[in-house]
């Protein structure tokens, strides 16, 4: 077991740190978190800066436009950018952490050349059209239909909880292409341009007050067959690849951010006198243990992926389960530090506390993750 970095890795870290120090002060002020058009511009602008500096798609394979960096270098990248308080991927989330890796793993050479460079350059925002009103946890129950008409699929149905749909250029869309097949079999993965005729996006307001996700209605939308990633009716397998990315790597950088928040909370508590309360102190101390351990688990998982090469395994579910609850505890502790001010939406951490409530739901609820851990890691029988 070794936690030290090689000289090359340390060099990489030092260069990155230097670059972040130079570039972060030049960034414009962050837009309001619920102004998605402004966030789109801001988040893509940051991605472009990363691209120009050679940090875009760091861990993607070179033939997908990436830099072929090792998982450890990617980890260093996430650690340093979060520590420096650099912008979060934001609107780039689905493209960079989700659709992109899926296309890189499952797409044809042509598809990779078409979609991956613009994602890396920060020119496109992607959204994820998986969930439907009657197919959330039971994702494979989705009913949005697609049938062949010449060189196109014609798609009708609706999607829900589609994050950033309002500002997205592309949608990774799951559709049912064979209604008579068993439910996991007849599904296909399509890349749908969001400006195609027949698409209506109706923003949904979240409990935090912002319109971060939307309902998407699809009325005979034509999507070229060339936009299909993977085989027809093989979309479930492709999706499992996507989901393992979502659970495996998407939250990694956030652990570092949580550790930063914890330090800020301690300093705030010292300022307002609540630090003298031993119960609060101990609570923050325990959270320190929690996020340290989650960071170690990340390093462990990354080392394991480095050894086995590539797609993260179901171990991501173990991480996601613990992290999503820890994040909620962090912001509950923040509320203790703030006291009455925790009820003021203009105070820092209050919106974060609200948005943390989604972590045990989005990307597969905790209940579903526990099923995955129990059945796929522990080998317990299926059944209810």
């Amino acid at each position: 077991m070794d936690l030290s970095c090689t000289p090359e890795e340390e060099q990489f870290r030092a260069r990155l740190r230097q670059w972040l120090g130079d570039v972060l002060p030049t960034l414009p002020p962050k837009p309001s978190p619920d102004d998605w058009p402004a966030r789109r511009v801001y988040d893509l602008g940051w991605q472009r800066l990363l691209y120009d500096a050679g940090y875009a798609g760091l861990h993607w394979p070179a033939d997908a436009g990436g830099r072929g960096a090792t998982p450890t270098q990617h980890l260093i990248f996430l650690e340093e950018t979060e520590r420096a308080g650099a912008p979060y991927v934001g609107a780039g989330f689905v493209g960079l952490l989700h659709a992109g890796p899926t296309i890189a793993a499952e797409g044809s050479a042509e598809q990779r050349a078409r979609w991956l460079p613009p994602i890396l350059r920060g020119e496109q925002v992607w959204c994820q059209g998986f969930s439907e009103p009657d197919a959330g946890s039971d994702l494979a129950a989705l009913r949005t239909r697609a049938w062949r008409d010449g060189d196109d699929y014609v798609v009708s149905g609706s999607k829900i909880w589609t994050s950033h749909a309002e500002v997205a250029d592309w949608c990774e869309l799951l559709v049912r292409t064979d209604p008579s097949a068993p439910k996991h079999r007849g599904i296909t993965w399509l890349a749908m341009p969001m400006d195609a005729p027949g698409i209506t996006v109706r923003p949904l307001r979240t409990l935090a007050g912002s319109a971060e996700f939307a309902e998407v209605f699809l009325d005979e939308v034509r999507v070229p067959v060339a936009n299909r990633v993977g085989e027809e009716n093989d979309g479930w397998r492709v999706t499992m690849v996507t989901l393992s990315f979502e659970r495996g790597t998407a939250f990694v950088g956030e652990v570092v951010a949580c550790r930063r928040v914890l330090g800020e909370l301690a300093r705030e508590a010292r300022k307002n006198g609540r630090w003298d309360d031993p119960l609060l102190r101990r609570r923050l101390g325990r959270l320190n243990a929690e996020f340290r351990a989650l960071w170690r688990l990340t390093q462990w998982n990354v080392s394991e992926a480095e050894a086995s090469g590539g797609v993260p395994g179901v171990g991501g579910s173990v991480f996601k389960l613990r992290y999503s609850h820890a994040r909620q505890e962090l912001y509950d502790a923040a509320a203790c530090v703030l006291g009455d001010e925790a009820l003021d939406l203009d105070r820092p951490w209050v919106l974060d506390r609200l948005s943390s409530l989604s972590y045990t739901i989005a990307a597969g609820t905790s209940q579903i993750q526990r099923d995955i851990v129990a059945e796929r890691i522990l080998g317990l029988p299926k059944g209810r």
Binding site: M1, D2, L3, S4, C5, T6, E9, T72, L75, L262, G263, L265, A266, R267, R270, P278, R281, R282, R283, L284, G285, R286, N288, A289, E290, R292, A293, L294, R296, L297, Q299, W300, V302, S303, E304, E306, A307, G315, V318, L321, R322, Q367, Q369, R370, D371, V373, A374, E375, I377, L378, G379, L380, P381, K382, G383, R384
Partner: protein, 287 residues
């Protein structure tokens, strides 16, 4: 960075696991509960394979390995629920004659307690005025002492390693039972309520494992404190949930589940427990 067990480390862990499976299996555990007392022959055998001298330099007759290896060995001891003042004797190797070879049994004051005081040949720390307790753990005799001893970071970490091993065993036992015990015409592990208990058992084990192994590599006091907190939680809650999964069977003296819980409880009272570690980690936030 290669934060995975090396081949040598895996071999060491497997070696200790095999030795303990041979010398202290489930039957031996039951027998020990019926006739509590320290098995001196086993103690010497542990000494012979280098369990106590693991971190002693080779020039001093030790094995010359480091904290990560010690942690792996202690994890296996925790998994086997091996009784005795293992941590105290290990720490005494090189300073107390005979400790390294397992000839001498060394107990130590930790927090406000001493484990195995009357069976020990040597006691480290001030045990004057020690008063016996009727120990909750049938395999750990306990004395209270008036003067509490401050935590030694290595002892805190090795305790965490033992807790990790016990937590792992709790998870294994729960999963095994959930696979075979049938009710309502199917294995109870097919019921989501049971399945989710098992999943949480594993999550706590894996998070604790990452913390304990990392602390073994860095030997950083904050990492050690974090490891201890997570491992204590994994062992205690793991044993409780394991008991729940076993139903009425889990509440019997014959089942070994209560032994896991009781040992885990005893270890949570050693120096470096929750309050101390939480305060250390709180202070570290200000650093």
């Amino acid at each position: 960075m290669r934060f995975q067990l090396t081949k040598d480390q895996r071999a060491l862990r497997d070696g200790v696991r095999q030795l303990l499976a041979r010398r202290f299996d489930r039957e031996a555990l039951r027998t020990a509960v019926q006739r509590p007392g320290l098995d001196r022959a086993l103690w010497r055998e542990l000494g012979e394979v280098g369990f106590f001298a693991l971190r002693l330099p080779e020039t001093d007759g030790g094995v010359g390995l480091g904290l990560p290896e010690a942690v792996l060995a202690f994890e296996e001891a925790g998994r086997a629920l091996l009784p005795g003042p293992l941590v105290a004797t290990h720490l005494a190797a090189g300073t107390v004659p005979g400790a390294a070879t397992g000839e001498t049994v060394v107990a130590a004051v930790s927090g406000g307690l001493v484990e195995w005081l009357t069976e020990a040949d040597v006691v480290v720390g001030d045990a004057s005025g020690a008063v016996p307790l009727r120990s909750v753990d049938p395999l750990t005799p306990l004395h209270r002492v008036p003067a509490a001893a401050a935590p030694d970071p290595v002892a805190v970490l090795l305790t965490a390693a033992e807790q990790l091993g016990t937590a792992t065993r709790a998870c294994d036992l729960a999963v095994q039972h959930a696979r075979v015990r049938e009710q309502f015409g199917q294995p109870v592990g097919a019921f989501q309520a049971v399945k989710h208990l098992c999943a949480e058992l594993l999550v706590r084990v894996e998070v604790a494992r990452a913390a304990v192994y990392a602390a073994a590599v860095t030997a950083d006091p904050a990492d050690i404190a974090a490891a201890r907190l997570l491992a204590d939680e994994a062992a205690v809650r793991g044993a409780r949930d394991c008991l729940q999964v076993h139903g009425g069977m889990g509440f019997t003296w014959e089942s070994e589940v209560h032994l896991l819980l009781k040992r885990a409880w005893v270890r949570t009272r050693r120096a470096g427990a929750d309050t101390e570690s939480e305060e250390l980690l709180a202070a570290e936030l200000m650093a």
